[in-house]
């Protein structure tokens, strides 16, 4: 590895971990409720609200329409407001979160739609509030599927972090592209891709395991 140092790799790994974990956490905190809202307000949902559904649905569509780099530029003022700067790893996390929220929302929406209608009825018959229906019925019943959705989203995030290099976010993916691909260093490509594969492998297996546990209890 002529052109990159161990320190660089370690730094990049930490950056990737930081970007992925924070944006996953906050993305899930945003995306899961958004997915829940989509399901609740949909036609046939327990809080059917066509206006709300259309608005959220369109919002999700709009954000999902933006190529990542455009999104990144479009939200610069917001990013600065939140983290005080528009460059670096921290600044990359903001667009990553915005990028992943609607993605998670869509996957969660799909997972929740698979929950047996009878269980929602049971909840309603018990006089559960909407919040309770979500908390005690919808989410637990869809948990296995939601975990797999989050796994898929996490791996999507790793892909997206590669683009974080654009604003100096760094990370393994960025090293793979700028030191490997653009500087014609096959060794660097292979090595960084290897690290990425290990990342993804661990995340997927961990996700599968948790989902299996949630499904099979």
């Amino acid at each position: 590895m002529a052109t990159i140092t161990t320190a660089q790799i370690i730094k990049a790994i930490l950056e990737t971990l930081q970007m992925v974990s924070i944006s996953l956490l906050l993305g899930a905190l945003g995306g899961i409720p958004l997915g829940v809202l989509l399901v609740l307000t949909k036609a046939g949902g327990i809080r059917k609200n066509t206006f709300m559904f259309r608005s959220l649905n369109n919002l999700v569509n709009i954000v999902r329409s933006l190529p990542f780099i455009i999104l990144l530029v479009a939200i610069v003022p917001f990013t600065k407001l939140i983290v005080g700067t528009s460059i670096g790893t921290k600044a990359a996390i903001v667009p990553l979160i915005i990028y992943i929220i609607p993605f998670i929302a869509r996957l969660v929406e799909n997972s929740l739609l698979e929950v047996n209608q009878g269980i929602i009825e049971a909840a309603q018959a018990m006089g559960a509030t909407t919040i309770q229906i979500i908390r005690y019925f919808l989410l637990p019943e869809a948990l296995g599927s939601i975990i797999l959705s989050l796994t898929t989203a996490t791996i999507g995030l790793i892909g997206a972090t590669a683009m974080a290099g654009t604003i100096g976010g760094g990370g393994i993916g960025d090293i793979a592209i700028s030191y490997g691909y653009q500087r014609f260093n096959t060794e660097v490509i292979v090595f960084t891709v290897f690290i990425l594969i290990i990342f993804v492998q661990c995340i997927q297996n961990f996700g599968n395991h948790l989902a299996q546990k949630a499904r099979r209890h």
Binding site: Q8, S86, G88, D174, Y181, R183, F184
Partner: protein, 250 residues
Amino acid sequence: AENTKEKKEITIGVSPGPYNELFDKAIKPILEKKGYTVKSIDFSDLLQSEVALSEGSVDLNVAQHTAYADNYNKEKGGKLTPIVPIPTVPAAIFSNKYKSLDQVAPGQKVGIPMDPSNAARAFRLLAKAGWITLNDAANPTTLTKNDIKDNIHNIEIMEMDSAQLPRSLDDLDFAVIPGSIVYSAKMDAAKGLLQENVSRELELVVVVDEKNKDSQWAKDIVAAYKSAEFKDYMKENNKNNYWFIPEELK
């Protein structure tokens, strides 16, 4: 893109920036007058444009300097050949916060382009500014952070997408911005705090595949860049010395 005598259709690989616009505005009309038709294919990544050139999917591009072409040839075994140097926009150090290079201080953020050819130029410009020194053994055309011997002012060098640099200038203390980006972002080139020296290998060139370098159309392109018509055009359009004009074209 066969190399036949009758070849009258030229395909150019387009990268964003002033060089292609210069080609479109000044060279293309000349070629068309000679009976050529010029087709273009857009690339957002220069490297893929090179691959296309090697592969024969495009005939030429006007987006690189000799150093980059040499490096590509070396790494990828390509046979890309420069046929003529063309007007070049030098890179420069810009800042929205400071008026002078002297205001550099430890911990300041200096943005540089992340793509290798522009990065190498940026490191050399930083060395010219006296902010860093470079390892003697380093290849000046493929410099990376790891070739820095001494970071005199302990600046933090951030590599990022070159098109991001003007956009992030408020968050950076200084940035090395390639001329093509300065042009695209409609920045005032005169506000540059320090311009690079456009050395021979950093002059932009028209590049074709080696097998085409003696073809008639290649010769006609060279002729177009050297034509009086083009010289007039440059005189018209280089008011504040935005362009660096190579010797051959003067």
